[in-house]
Symmetry: C2
Subunit: 253 residues, 2 copies
């Protein structure tokens, strides 16, 4: 069985631990966590270490730490010639220390501590330095997900920027919608079916086909009324710039 | 059985026709459509008219036309003292002609022609001029949806602005994500699980709790790299303004 070791204990690491613990084709042999307690609810205590020198022989070491720590952690590993990958969307594969064989294992998903996810449906983007290592990386990827993609570092950078727009920024628009509702004593629940349907629509239609609302209709009267309604300057500016972008960049179908 | 008549043939009208045709507690007795063909695939031909003078006696007349036509259509109706409601999120109830009893019947959803929706889960926001009419309006609402809310005109205005943020603007962010991916030969499919999960997360967590990404982490290095990557000025401006709004308005949890 393929042996995997995870280095890190943050959100992504924790979700990976849970996914590998369920897998029957790979064995998660060890997790490195500075504070052992952070992951002790997810894996047997004897498999947790906080000492690099105690890391056991594995087929793949997955570094899942904050972006700015990846380089340092990879250079602190007390071994060489092993396959070491990171899980970041925004860091080049070359950031890993050259003493080991490099790769990337990037799950395109948003992870929060209190929200379980079905890992099987999460796209895993793989990149590899030596083509010989692809088979093993693909094998561990397939053991936890049904959606495997080969994505190089420049593509991954694009993908990560896209992910910021469709996830982080989208969530902030939910936040603004919530705030506007709260100010008028309207429950956020009333927006939830709309939020769900807006996401589900683009599973079937392109975002261009799915576009509705005053901006695409060029409904100046409603747009003016909305801008007059908004008293928060930041919200007003976001309203203006996205409305303008829809009018300039989306084809009226 | 309560008798309903729909005046209009656009997206919302068409989805309402389908919902009422399924209902066993209300009878859709007639649809007014300038071009009879527009709705002839949804309802029996003898129930379609393009002449206001042919409108039969109904308990509720639902005007579902474009915002700027609501007033005119309501004043052209050749009867009085009837219950007449509109379906718009952004138009005051008072826009309806005073010769009839007024109300609003606003479904909070995004409707596209080629995407069926489950009407039962769509929030219906009701407003009424005479409290005596509330029972009948609620009755027809309950016959097609499980989620009924009483929302007055100022609240409905807030709700509509919120809906623009969480639906129309969110969809445009999907569009930008799609464009960035296309430019790097990455299939949009790779973003779909992320889009779905981002929506599903706020069914359980508040948008504040669900916020992830470089902005909330104050990860300046990634933000700078993303801004350097974006060559499209509009995309760059949207990136900047939403990042700033997250940093200024979202609590770090």
């Amino acid at each position: 069985m393929v042996k995997v070791s995870i280095i890190g204990s943050g959100n992504v690491a924790q979700h990976l631990i849970q996914a590998f613990e369920k897998s029957t084709e790979t064995e998660l042999i060890q997790v490195f966590s500075r504070k052992k307690d952070t992951v002790s609810h997810l894996i047997a205590k004897e498999k947790i270490t906080n000492n690099y020198n105690e890391l056991k022989e594995a087929d793949v070491y997955i570094i899942s730490v904050s972006d700015n720590a990846i380089s340092k952690v990879s250079s602190e590993l007390p071994f060489q010639e092993k396959l070491v990958v990171h899980t970041s969307g925004s860091i080049d594969m070359t950031a890993l220390d050259s003493k080991n064989r490099k790769g990337v294992f990037y799950p395109v998903q948003t992870f929060s501590k209190n929200k379980p996810v079905n890992f099987k449906s999460i796209p895993l983007c793989l990149e590899i330095e030596n083509q010989d290592d692809y088979t093993i990386l693909e094998k561990i990827a397939k053991s936890i997900s049904d959606r495997i993609y080969t994505i190089d570092s420049p593509q991954r950078k694009s993908l990560h920027v896209s992910a910021v727009f469709v996830c982080n920024f989208v969530n902030h628009l939910y936040h603004i919608g919530n705030e506007i509702c709260e100010n008028s004593n309207i429950p956020f629940d009333i927006l939830k079916p709309l939020i769900k349907e807006t996401a589900e629509k683009v599973m079937l239609l392109s975002p261009n086909e799915a576009q509705t609302g005053p901006a695409i209709r060029n409904d100046h009267k409603t747009i003016e009324a909305h801008l007059a309604f908004l008293t928060n300057e930041t919200q007003k500016n976001i309203y203006k710039i996205i409305t303008q972008s829809i009018q300039e960049n989306v084809k009226k179908l």
